[in-house]
Symmetry: C2
Subunit: 271 residues, 2 copies
């Protein structure tokens, strides 16, 4: 029990509270017994936990069925987080122009641990395939263009940590699955200035990405153009890479007003 002892959550209830929250976020609604069983809690405890979440406004109980479901309060939380990310406002017009220039869907991400998290995107208007915005979703760094772009900027030690913490899964024949392969790929990224995801995450999808740096911001950001391979042969990759690099230069040169004091923005809500 000495060293092996997993560092424990200093507040046990927190496990239960967020466990319930996360469980409910995956299904439309759930009954008390079901939640209790899943979290291995006594019904009574589960009930208290749910009552607490309800009190806080994150959970709501169907008065007739008795089932529990999330309210949209957690969405407001996310919205506030996104809203104070000034960098999104700066980057968004570039994304838009990039989409218009290329006709392809573009993404903007930030590193969060071993993943890249989508912060913004502008979807192509040309394709008939609607792809609803997935802001907030994740993709592993080692398996994405944006991820490779950001990793190319990391010092060796940090890279190593990321790799070790990553749960490597081969999702396509092209997926990078060894550290040496990753290092080699990153060398190419550094040479060319952009990262190519050549169907490494999903068959049929290629994408070109580049990292950008924000002075005074500890996080890593990147943006990308994705398209089906049918529209993305090597020639097109060449063309697009020029556009990508141009945008990157512009963004790197753009000063970002960071951490505005009171962070009081014009509300500007619309009906």
């Amino acid at each position: 029990m000495e060293q092996i002892e997993n560092t424990k959550n200093p507040i046990q209830v927190a496990d239960r509270l967020f466990g319930a929250l996360e469980y409910l976020s995956v299904r439309p609604s759930a009954g008390l017994s079901e939640i209790a069983a899943h979290l291995r809690l006594n019904k009574s405890t589960a009930h208290r936990v749910l009552a607490s979440l309800e009190y806080l406004g994150y959970v709501q109980q169907d008065p007739v069925e008795g089932r529990y479901e999330l309210t949209l309060k957690v969405l407001s939380l996310s919205e506030q987080i996104l809203q104070r990310m000034d960098i999104r406002d700066v980057v968004h017009p570039y994304l838009r122009r990039l989409m218009e220039q290329t006709g392809e869907t573009v993404h903007f991400v930030r590193q969060d641990g071993v993943d890249a998290v989508y912060l913004d995107n502008v979807e192509t208007t040309r394709s008939s395939v609607r792809m609803i915005s997935r802001v907030g979703s994740r993709i592993p760094l080692y398996r994405s263009g944006v991820g490779k772009a950001m990793m190319a900027d990391m010092p060796e030690e940090e890279l190593r940590e990321v790799w070790n913490a990553s749960a490597v899964v081969r999702t396509t024949p092209n997926t990078i699955t060894t550290y040496p392969a990753l290092v080699k790929a990153l060398r190419t990224v550094r040479e060319t200035g952009y990262a190519l995801d050549n169907e490494e995450n999903e068959i049929g999808i290629r994408c070109i990405a580049s990292a950008i740096r924000i002075p005074g911001d500890g996080h890593r950001y990147a943006f990308s153009i994705s398209a089906p391979v049918t529209r993305m042969d090597d020639d097109r990759v060449q063309q697009l890479s020029h556009i990508i690099l141009e945008v990157k230069e512009n963004l790197d040169a753009t000063p970002i007003r960071h951490l505005s004091p009171a962070s009081t923005r014009s509300a500007g809500n619309q009906t």
Copy 2:
């Protein structure tokens, strides 16, 4: 102290945990002492709360500054919630078409308590004013087109409850501030089939909205077209109302596959 006694949170720590979370969601980062002061907690307690949130992955501490900030995990939570809302996938193409037909920004919302919460939107490509997506943000029902559209479908008792729970604030000269005025406005909505927000929330913005109903879904939904008054005179309102009503009819007739059993969707992540 009989009746007056506020129903208390059955789990006190929950207040602290989510208090810290919500506090951090408003500012880019915060120091421990600052958080402790704001939540009126002992530094020691605050530290434990933060450590717990960090353990759960929602909070991260800057190793050099020592300041705390949110990770993007809460965004993933939201994303999962949005992703299982099948109705968004159904409605999105309609929104897109609506925007293309009218050239104006369109919104899609759901009722959550006394507010409408934005679930999706398609912003106009014509205007040069970029308006980054505000999915997750809120607007009071009584002060919005979408809100009035949804309230028009409520039985009197429910309406009364909403009104009483609403914190009425006059944001423009046109804002509805009395219950009789609201009732009267809703009568018009029922007669015409759509709701008009005539600069009732924000000067210079008009919008037309309509509620839709989803069989087997306990929630209320609505969508809207917003535009500056300069592009939205009474004639245009007339025109747009026809389009709105047509979309509403289509949507009301569209069957929504609801609560898919395992809710396992094609992931389809892209780099």
